[in-house]
Symmetry: C2
């Protein structure tokens, strides 16, 4: 992984078992997409996949630019929303591509937020046993997190992201200019992952995000472009080290063990970012109580996260429901939950394999206590 | 790829991008399965998947041997038949595993024929973004072909095997003794792929199969064990060379361009083996007519294939329907069908990238002519 300056952006190289791919973060780069795709992907036909919110704007723009450049490109749409991250939508899109005559010489271009990059990525991963995918994230969350690392998949009855595949993209193109089309709430939710990157890997980055939280929420490109680029660099370094979540990659789960439980317990009423922010705070306080995390880290995290999201108290979540979720978490290995704990801001405690086995009771207590008395 | 003798069998190493796996072909080896799995797979829980024909016999035997050896193992069943190679069955099995609490520390053990190895393999490929699979093929077809090479997947409305993933097994265990439980027709259909391996790679092997065709059909272990072992060696060499069907692996498609069209045109009334046998004969004759294949090859193939399957005339297939399928084949690259042509028995003509672009009209004519006048 290395970051090199472009005219007005940053290109980050992500290593995979099969080679590597580039993540290009650059203002206005969306207009260069046809050239970039043609340079990097040998395909005869391109299927642009967007949800029905993004399709009329960015989805259509990508397709039209492609067609203007002489590409054989068609647009496929699915209903916006997490409910579309399903085996059903995956089946429908797959059949639509087949009915339209797409074959092995095809490439999928995913244009949208995290639902789209995950869903379209899984379509590509399984279409004729795998065709290339180009990820064009249009939200903070997708730029910072979902489009880098090769995770694709859908939700099922038993939980989120339980069915999927590792399918690294051939190219990721992130244009910070499109972030202005997001709602304020979407921006805030997505930026939580940027603060997480700072919290686990780079305290100076964390501080720089804190300094510019208002501009970041406004999607001011002078703030958003370097933030997206730095988060991509940090995440790329992690997934280049450990593509399949065998060890080091787990550090990206900071805030997520409890965050996922809180999100599920709220029946996904709580936004992913809010849930992870609350999870980060609870896991920081747990770490302090266990003597693993430097005292004061919890308080250090809380300020900027509340600047981003407003007051965080977790009062809306039933701790019992979250505890029940934790007890039945399908991803748990050997029955004991594991939690990523910070050593201090900007550094994860190595623990055993970059996480700590924490007794379920301690986690349930941490949930039940909430943020009271902090 | 190398074959080394075991006590009473052969172990073949297959290279993959991530390392390698072993295919063990040995009489009675099924009884050693728990030990072999424990040596090679680090998993806490094992899901044995079989269809409801195989489950009461081999499926149950594998599970009980595992439980006796102290493994946490459970048996999951689906209705026998090609109709189960579907997204629906894949969803049901996935949900059953999740409901039973299987997590990332799980391993799938597929026990059965080609439908089972493909379907259970795809469950494993996509379960929590991939868990290990051990393939325990119980039919000739699955031992010789389906369980080696990492192809997994299901059929969809538009065609067979159009959705899936490359997911190499962690281990393949083939016990020729179980072949006696197959019907004569199943044995005959599966053995076609063995003759194909001889036809494309090893004329001496082809001759040895021809010599023992009666014993092979009887599943006499002194004939079946070395045949399965040799076919596995030959296929392993090919897929070690080209895991993802980029080039050399295409030679395994000999007989399959026309075979698939015939199979689809018959609405899958024609068995896969019969369709491939007819495809091999038609493609051999096409090769002779194009001056690519040594004259006499067609006749050389026909004798043993008819000894296996009875008279082959293709009269039951509508050539127009097969031609229509060819014209809409979803796997076709850039619109032109490609066919693998022999140079002579035991050797594929390199063509361009191991196949020849043949005008659709020539293929349609070959189909329409059938085997008349040969």
């Amino acid at each position: 992984m290395s970051g090199t300056e472009r005219s007005a952006g940053v290109t980050v190289q992500v290593r995979t078992r099969d080679g590597s791919y580039e993540v290009i973060v650059e203002r206005g780069v969306l207009r260069e997409l046809p050239r970039l795709v043609n340079e990097r992907v040998r395909a005869e036909r391109f299927a642009v996949i967007s949800d029905d919110n993004v399709a009329p704007t960015h989805g259509r723009a990508v397709m039209e630019a492609g067609v203007d450049a002489g590409c054989d490109m068609a647009l496929f749409t699915f209903p916006a929303g997490e409910a579309s991250k399903s085996r059903k939508s995956w089946s429908v899109l797959t059949d639509e591509l087949l009915d339209a005559g797409f074959g092995r010489d095809s490439c999928v271009i995913a244009v949208g937020g995290g639902v789209t990059t995950d869903l379209a990525g899984f379509v590509a991963a399984t279409f004729l046993r795998g065709v290339p995918v180009v990820q064009v994230p249009t939200s903070y969350l997708a730029m910072i997190d979902a489009s880098v690392g090769g995770k694709t998949g859908v939700d099922v009855r038993a939980g989120k992201n339980l069915v999927g595949a590792f399918h690294p993209p051939r190219l990721v193109v992130a244009d910070p200019e499109v972030l202005v089309t997001l709602s304020l709430a979407e921006r805030a939710q997505g930026l939580v992952e940027a603060f997480k990157h700072g919290a686990i890997l780079d305290s100076a980055y964390f501080a720089s995000l804190e300094d510019r939280v208002v501009d970041l929420l406004a999607a001011e490109p002078s703030a958003s472009a370097p933030a997206v680029a730095r988060s991509v660099e940090l995440k790329a370094a992690v997934v280049s080290e450990d593509e399949f979540e065998g060890g080091y990659r787990q550090i990206l789960n900071f805030g997520h063990t409890l965050g996922h439980a809180l999100e599920a317990a709220s029946d996904y009423e709580l936004g992913h970012g809010s849930a992870v922010a609350l999870g980060m705070l609870l896991e920081a306080r747990l770490g302090e109580r266990l003597g693993v995390t430097e005292p004061g880290t919890f308080a250090r995290l809380r300020g900027p996260l509340e600047a981003l999201l407003g007051p965080i108290d977790g009062a809306s979540v039933d701790p019992e429901a979250a505890a029940t979720y934790l007890r039945t978490d399908k991803k748990v290995r050997g029955g004991q939950p594991r939690v990523v704990l910070l050593r201090r801001l900007g550094e994860v405690d190595p623990g055993e394999g970059w996480s700590h086995e924490v007794p379920q009771e301690a986690l349930v207590e941490a949930l039940a206590a909430g943020l009271e008395g902090s």
